[in-house]
Symmetry: C3
């Protein structure tokens, strides 16, 4: 249980107005689709339709909403508390992370196998049964359990790598030899993962062939993705689950890539691009466009 006054203190710079009797209230958690209770703090997303109606119908004692929601007579009668902020979605995220998400202590589990040549920063968490070759890991990064990180990998600060991820394995490249047999193309590049990146569970990021594979600052990759050799990804890119990015494709910044989509190799994707779920991208995409379908086609400008 968290005291509401403590929460209000934490968000006080963002609070526009508080209405109703908020003193002495204790908060059990945050209201969701299928759990709620008067002791859960509720919140009305700024883009919700009929926000006033939703706020009125909430069974929570405390509601966070933007100034478009009024403190009605009904709320007053029921002793509700309405906290008005500009961006309820961001504020509830901040409250959740501060008060309700458990922080992992930065420990290195004794079963993690860490090469003597590895350079591990301050306050790093490394989970059980992870195998860390002679790579570089920056400060405050979290490597969960059963992760493999090869010695060709350089990881920045505040990076999260989830369980089962495999970073820096040799890429998938073959050349036919004189007899028509598949001969392995050498894979000796690096993987560079910049600050504030998140890599999903069981996602695989291969090392470059001769160049590097790069994941730019603040980019987030979901579970079960394949990022091939020599791929370059910009900053603040969101790659959802089960996405394939084939070799040597370059992706700009602020791009969103839908689940189960696939990007052909050696293409260039601009900045601020949206790629739809299940899209099969076979060519370059200029900046500020939305592409969808199989094969992927221009749908509209992304403005």
């Amino acid at each position: 249980m968290i005291r509401l006054e403590e929460i209000i203190k934490f968000i006080q710079d963002q609070v526009i107005q508080i209405q109703g009797p908020y003193k002495g209230i204790e908060i059990e958690g945050i209201a969701g689709l299928r759990n709620s209770d008067s002791r859960y703090i509720d919140w009305i997303h700024q883009n919700t339709k009929q926000p006033q109606e939703k706020a009125e119908n909430s069974i929570s004692k405390v509601i966070i909403a933007n100034p478009g929601v009024n403190y009605s007579e009904k709320m007053k009668l029921n002793g509700k508390v309405l906290i008005q902020v500009k961006n309820p979605y961001l504020i509830i995220a901040k409250i959740g992370n501060e008060f309700f998400v458990r922080k992992e202590k930065p420990i290195i589990h004794p079963t993690a196998i860490i090469d003597q040549g590895a350079k591990i920063g301050k306050d790093v968490y490394i989970g059980a049964y992870s195998v860390i070759d002679a790579c570089v890991i920056g400060d405050n990064s979290i490597i969960q359990e059963n992760v493999i990180i090869r010695d060709c990998v350089k990881i920045g600060n505040n990076v999260l790598i989830k369980s089962g991820a495999i970073i820096g394995n040799p890429g998938f490249g073959f050349v036919k030899d004189e007899d028509g047999k598949l001969f392995k193309f050498p894979q000796i590049g690096e993987v560079i993962i910049e600050n504030y990146v998140e890599i999903g569970s069981n996602t695989c990021i291969d090392r470059g062939a001769f160049s590097d594979t790069i994941i730019g600052s603040g980019s987030k990759i979901n579970n079960l993705c394949h990022i091939a050799h020599n791929v370059g990804i910009g900053n603040q890119v969101i790659i959802t689950a089960l996405v394939n990015v084939s070799g040597s494709t370059i992706i700009g910044s602020n791009v969103w890539i839908g689940p189960n989509s696939t990007l052909k190799g050696h293409q260039i994707i601009g900045d601020n691009v949206l790629i739809g779920a299940g899209a099969v991208v076979l060519g370059d995409i200029p900046s500020n466009e939305v592409w969808v379908g199989n094969p992927a086609r221009f749908l509209r400008k992304n403005e």
Copy 2:
């Protein structure tokens, strides 16, 4: 080698008729596409075309078929045994599981790391190098090797979780902060896995954001699937390999979802729905319908 008389005893309630000299026969295994031998028991699926011809041509000594297959003169001359049952497909499955599938003994491998707070039921198998946080696991459940289960997970009885599965990691949700940077949305819900569920190898099931992620009783999920935060799946649902179900989507019961298909978030899928391989589902689907394609479209009623 298993005595045929023992097998017949096991299925005797379902046997309509046995023809031919079955005493003293020993069975080596069950006939398949690419292995066969007179000592392998063969079976004719009730939906097979030309079942009589297939039964006549089988090199097996013992054949299970439905009553549409007759004990012919040729079978008699060759000393074959024909066992007639209503549903040969189900009967051979039962025989296979009873006599030819090795049962894992319910042991907990010494290298499994199990939190002191975990509540583990009776006769549970936990494989090597699995990491079990303070979760709940019901009776007779099997957790294979290299599995990760977080403390927000509640698993029922007779559940099978295959190797490399990762259950209960925080979901993939972000909100832009004041500077346009991606800020992690808190993920503090649970994962509820009901009785008789199967979770495939390397499949990832994320915990809910504020609500729970739920996999209903008897549902089966194949390898390499991503089930996002807050997803609700009904009973007896089959999800094949490499499927993505995005956040907060609700799926009814008796649904079949084809491989490599993807379901957008916040949709509602009814009961008794079929979703084709590679389908990209961008909206709700009513009960009793078949949808296919990219984007997925109504194909026909599912009757």
Copy 3:
């Protein structure tokens, strides 16, 4: 640093002509998209457009190209070395593997759990935290970290199985019982992996139901693929990332399957077939054809 003369000695049978002062040069590495330096050996792919221009503009001291590239006055003035070979792509691959790829020593990590009944060949590498049941593994094979191999698996020589792969788990098959409940179909076949096969990270290959799952000699499967029960794959097949091959489908030799594509069960794919990225293959494909799309359609002959 590698002496160029040593490299030339290694490829001397393939060298057509060497021009320029090559004695005494030392090589740091191989030039790539985003790394280069005069000490990196550069190479011009035989299919490159404007090869002469690319060779002229290379900042490397040493360039490998086919005889279509001439040793120009400019190269001469700059003291460049031009090595002419028929197939620069193959030659650079051979040089890279010989001089710049680190070879794993064939050790078995003490944390690998290996069943007493396993038959392990000569010079096999088995990585940390892998679980090897009573299977067969041929000579010179590499099993990376966190791999699971069941006792129904037979692996040939010179096979590479990357981290997180799960080979031989029971397949995904169910039959409805008398009450309409999903009843597990027995999965008691084997997995046969022939010589020179590569299996990607986190890829899952299920054992057959009654027959075997077979991966033919020299075939390469990338990361995060699902190969279902009873699938048969020919020789020298390339399966890229995130591909699903459903149960009992048979694939010929010299086939290429694009990423995120899916093949329905019980189909037959001929030899020398190309299947496009994201293709949804719902039927048989004859030899020497290219198929693409959802659903996949004939595009052209593959000649």
